[in-house]
Amino acid sequence: MEREAITEGTTTVRVAAGSANRPRGEELFRAAREPESSVASAAVGSTGIEGLEPLVAATLDGETAFFARCSTDRVRSVAAALGDGTLPTDGATAVVEHEPRVATLPTPEDGPLAVGDRVVLGGCGWRRPTSVDDYQAVRSPVAPSVDRSREATARIDEAGLRGRGRGDVAADAPVVEHWEAVAAADGDPIVVVNANEADPRAAADRLLLESDPLVALDPALAAAVALDATDIVVYVNETETLAHRRVRAAADALADELRMDVPIRIVAGPDEYKTGEPTMALEAIEGNHRIEARRGPPGPSEHGVDGRPTLVHTPRTFAQVGRVLAGEDMTGASSDPGTRLFTVAGDVDAPATVELSTGATLDAALPAVETVEGRKAACVGGVFGGLTRSLDVPASAPGLESARLGTNGVVELLGESTCMVALAGSRATFAREENCGRCVPCREGSTQLVGLLRDVYDGEFADGMLRELLRVVRETSLCEFGRDAARPVTTAMEAFETEFTAHAAGRCPAGTCNRS
């Protein structure tokens, strides 16, 4: 094991690839090491921009050349050139001058890597994912700086931090309320890092765990110390083996380095959308053979894993917690300080996860991707996101909510041929098929919702009945799954009502629905 941080070297070649491009990335990494030379090399995680992968970054004395979708021959010649003491720039996608030995990816002036603010993402595609030395090059771990006084909680409070992602008990709400509820509850607290996101559109948590797991694990450890928690569970998706292994290695390395006595356990949960919902995550962690939502109140703060007080945050939230505890200036919208991660997906060449200030608007994320067939609309927030024509919407939780969009960090672009009625129907069908079956508004409501949408194709657009049903599903479902499930249909009917009336008249304006 190399003790020295890779960021210490001034001559380095990095090969960045996420799990989607991993075999190709490994091939390139082997090729990069072929020339006999003293050039340091590292296989790093994805930058978040899948379209650039595998991405090779050649660094020499404060200058880095990026080569997107790099070939094996090219990486060999890049490594050889570095070995000869020259920075190869021929055919480079971008060349960036920077301070020598930077610990975060130097961002080019344009192109996808220039999109947004790479703060939480700074180490993704640059630092070795499981190296504590690389992590320490950017900041001292925050966990040892925390004690059992209320100080950490007070700083979270002062920062006004909100939770990020549907898997977070404090989703969109002030994080401090969740911390204080856990601290006030009876029993031994436990910390859960909820990273089981089965919605393929929402890639941000997986990106953090694959590319820079310490950015979430160190703050999770800090939270455990601050709340006097005895252990930590990282709850991952059973299919995400790379994230799983890197979390294990990073957690072990962190434990070695910090010598802190809080065990970190990894639990792999089912690859099902519902099991990312926080109370169903608790059920999976407890080992239940059937996963359904848990009734509340009290919620997980008081009655979590095995009835213990449980802090449940996503890796995204923990990354922001880390920023607060490291004393960073959070900036962004005052109502929702910090940054938010958005994966731009849908009708695009390759998805891209970018980081926006909460003071920015969503359209700032668009240059990160190539769209394939124009853009008619977007579904913001994942499978149960809200449909909108405009992306001139604040990237903050309150801004997204007032635009009736979802906050799970997805901007799914929908091309011109997308039929909004069909899309609404497919999301309702997803709700019908994937719900846990516990409560009536979600279980039976989603079934009736699919039926009422099907009636549109038969000429009957019962909009009043649909709206009434959607209100009840949203307001009375037992967990967030059902409360979110109404959103795609509700927003589709609001923004694209004419498409519904056209279908009722036997015509699909997008020309994609076949009536037979």
Binding site: M1, E2, I6, A42, V44, G45, R128, P129, T130, S131, E238, T241, L242, H244, R245, R246, R248, A249, A250, D252, I266, V267, A268, P270, K274, T275, T279, A284, G287, N288, H289, R290, E292, A293, R294, R295, G296, H303, D306, G307, R432, E433, E434, N435, C436, G437, R438, C439, V440, P441, R443, E444, S446, T447, Q448, E468, R471, E475, T476, L478
Partner: protein, 321 residues
């Protein structure tokens, strides 16, 4: 244990399952209700409640303006419910918006409105949603006249459920007529979970469970058995006692209210029947608890995956064992 030799001979092996082996397939819900006594307002009337009280307790203490149906709630046995699945107990609160009264703690100073538009709408719609998935052939149902679903439908003045009722015979589940004691008609089931809790939490028999998800959610057996007679049921009857509808009915009562019209019975109200093999064998015992062969493997698993090299370059062992 008694020293009487008769007992020693007949009870060499305990045949009662250990409580920790019971796997009802339901969530580890917290205890519902308030941690302390409270005074709150329901429809403008002041109500004092005890520790442990829910908003439904407060609503039941006064004459409410709206009909708080609370169909799935069960108050004769503390170990049963609140399941809070039917959502026909929704009320509006100034503090928390629309909430399920059956499980929401009665907190000091709360202001509850039972006839707020959003709450009434929620109860009406959720009741109709229940009826939409219910075989409404009351006239051949053994629970006709003693059915909670029927009662609340009358109470809520349902004339024509807005989503209709289950009527396509091909979609009906076959009746489970295998047991000589209890008949199961899942087409009448509202998934209130009372039977599962009676079976597991009160009788500690570990027979019934909730299984499946979405539309396929149903009451099944922890042993994986397909029929009541193949299950480990001891025919105690508690499930049938707590069932709010005609889903679990004592065999002697299944046609108790059927009108005397030739050929029109409960058994032919559904498309098929399972367990006819067992007919005319009254008194036969179920296999009981020969062996506890449950199918209740955890859905999540603790990690056994080795971490990769710290530079993230491992190429082997990609798949979890």
């Amino acid at each position: 244990m008694s020293t009487d030799p008769i007992w020693e001979n007949s009870h060499t092996e305990p045949d009662v399952p250990l409580a920790e082996d019971i796997a009802p397939g339901t969530a580890n819900d917290p205890v519902a209700g308030a941690s302390e006594a409270a005074t709150l307002t329901v429809d403008g009337q002041q109500v004092a409640t005890q520790a442990g009280a829910t908003l439904l307790d407060a609503c039941e203490a006064v004459s409410t303006d709206g009909e708080v149906l609370a169909l799935c709630s069960y108050d004769d046995e503390e170990l049963i419910g609140p399941r809070s699945e039917c959502r026909t107990c929704m009320v509006e609160t100034e503090e928390h918006g629309v909430v399920p009264s059956c499980s929401f703690p009665a907190e000091d100073g709360m202001s509850v409105s039972t006839d707020a538009a959003a709450a009434s709408e929620a109860r009406d719609v959720n009741l109709d949603l229940l009826l939409s998935d219910h075989n409404l052939l009351c006239t051949t149902c053994g629970a006709n006249g003693r059915c909670d679903l029927q009662d609340v439908s009358i109470q809520n003045e349902v004339v024509e459920p807005r989503y209709g009722v289950m009527h396509d015979r091909s979609e009906l589940e076959p009746l489970d007529d295998s047991s000589p004691f209890i008949q199961i008609d899942r087409n009448k089931c509202i998934l209130c979970n009372r039977c599962v809790e009676a079976c597991n939490d009160v009788q500690v028999e570990g027979v019934l469970r909730m299984e499946g998800s979405g539309e396929d959610t149903r009451i099944g057996f922890q042993s994986g058995a397909e029929t009541m007679m193949d299950s480990t049921c001891v025919s105690c009857g508690h499930c049938a006692t707590v069932c709010p509808t005609g889903a679990l009915v004592e065999q002697g009562l299944v046609d108790a209210t059927t009108l005397p019209i030739p050929g029109f019975t409960h058994k032919n109200s559904a498309e098929g029947i399972v367990g006819e093999d067992y007919e005319h064998q009254p008194g036969q015992m179920t296999p009981m608890k020969r062996e506890l062969d449950t199918q209740n493997e955890p859905r999540a698993s603790a990690s056994t995956v080795e971490g990769d090299a710290t530079d993230g370059t491992a190429t082997e062992g990609e798949d979890r064992p």
